[in-house]
């Protein structure tokens, strides 16, 4: 079915605009048109379908489900829910406080918050359509493992020592009270009544327009960078310089990803181009995850609930995990 996008790009770039498929500009533009149209079409279909399924899942229900679980199970569940639960990044503070005051350990809350930007279901499906099952599973698995390890480590270090007063208060409250369901939001919990298909359609429709409105420019930027790599970086240049998976190239890729800020959806086309250019899998994934997760705006926001020491620790933790993960994947994939 993807052949149609290629045919469309042929028609637009080569026939209508009259560019030659032998020139770099022609090739780059063709890649750009094909990939953007393909990704846009995929996004609309996928966000709608996921919205339909997800209409009844919300953070309140996740919180109630996680409250009172044993830690070992909790890390996995927290990271798993982080991967599929949508919330606008400006909600991450209330989510953090809400989980904390429900008596959920800091580590489980962090597993949830760490995994959330790294993996979102739209990125996963996009990855699957572009690069196949194996890479998608690797990506998802890595994101969840990093979230779980990060959470477990914070609990080990008793990270609650480094919370801001506001969050510390919420934490203390959560530790005193047995985990309970919050009563004044009960009226909102539509969990009791299953949604009918019209409500699901409404939710899916608004999700689609909202998410698409948010990510389309990222996709354009991402594909643009991919197209530029594709058309203007001499074929084999990246491979010649990075193709061996030299050990230093992985931390370098992670560091380069820090100042770049993109969301997971926009980074996928870049990931695709880097792999096509012969950059090893570990280096590519390290770069992309660092771009998505190690972003300063997010961290500045978390400053409201965490002290600098804890933030720095988290940041270092992320950078180290991305690097180690990159090395492991390079070893495995280049062996």
């Amino acid at each position: 079915m993807f052949i149609w996008f290629s045919i469309f790009a042929d028609w637009l770039v080569y026939d209508t605009l009259g560019l030659s498929n032998q020139t770099q500009v022609g090739q780059a533009l063709h890649f750009f048109v094909e990939d953007t149209s393909k990704i846009f079409a995929l996004l609309v279909v996928m966000i709608y379908a996921i919205g339909w399924l997800r209409a009844s899942l919300n953070v309140e229900r996740v919180r109630d489900y996680l409250a009172g679980r044993p830690k070992v199970v909790g890390y996995g569940l927290g990271a798993g829910f982080g991967a599929i639960t949508p919330f606008c990044s400006c909600s991450s503070i209330p989510v953090f406080l809400g989980f904390t005051s429900a008596g959920i350990p800091i580590g489980i809350t962090m597993a949830f918050l760490l995994t959330s930007p790294l993996i979102n279901e739209v990125a996963i499906l996009l990855l699957f359509s572009l690069l196949g099952l194996e890479i998608t599973l690797l990506y998802a698995f890595t994101g969840i493992v990093i979230g779980m390890l990060g959470g477990a480590l914070l609990d080990l270090l008793k990270a609650e020592r480094w919370l801001q007063p506001l969050a510390a208060k919420a934490y203390a409250r959560g530790q005193q009270a047995a985990p309970t369901k919050s009563s004044n939001t009960a009226s909102l919990n539509q969990a009791a009544s299953p949604l009918n298909w019209q409500q699901r359609h409404q939710f899916a429709k608004s999700e689609t327009s909202e998410i698409f409105g948010r990510v389309w420019k990222w996709v354009i930027i991402g594909v643009g960078i991919g197209a530029a790599l594709h058309g203007f970086v001499p074929a084999g240049w990246l491979q010649a310089n990075l193709g061996e998976g030299q050990w230093w190239s992985v931390p370098l890729a992670v560091l380069m990803g820090i100042p770049l800020y993109a969301n997971a959806t926009g980074v996928i086309p870049v990931l695709e181009s880097l792999l096509l250019q012969g950059v090893p899998l570990g280096t590519t994934l390290a770069f992309c995850m660092s771009t998505v997760a190690a972003s300063f705006p997010e961290f500045v926001m978390l400053k409201q609930v965490m002290q600098w020491r804890l933030l720095a620790l988290l940041f270092a933790l992320l950078l180290i995990s991305f690097t180690v993960m990159g090395w492991i994947f390079n070893l495995v994939s280049l062996a």
Partner: protein, 81 residues
């Protein structure tokens, strides 16, 4: 009636406050609208996904930006309460 919009001040919350005000004006309701950005207050309401609407101290919507029609329903429900 007293309406509070809970949120950290992101674009969604601002839009929501504007629509609530519009709808209230259209229904010629006398409302007192307040934007709450203080996290402690938001958490005290038990809200985790912003933006949320609180009418007279009760959370009536959270985690989404309701359509004008939905806002109208919420307001008239309280008015006829």
């Amino acid at each position: 009636m007293k309406i509070e919009i809970l949120g950290s001040g992101c674009k969604k919350c601002t839009n929501l406050a504007a629509s609530v005000e519009q709808v209230a004006n259209r229904l010629s309701l006398n409302i007192e609208l307040e934007k709450v950005t203080d996290m402690a207050t938001i958490v005290d309401y038990g809200v985790m996904s912003t933006p949320a609407i609180v009418i007279n101290g009760t959370v009536v919507s959270s985690g989404s930006v309701p359509s004008d029609t939905e806002i109208e329903q919420l307001l008239t429900q309280v008015r006829n309460g």
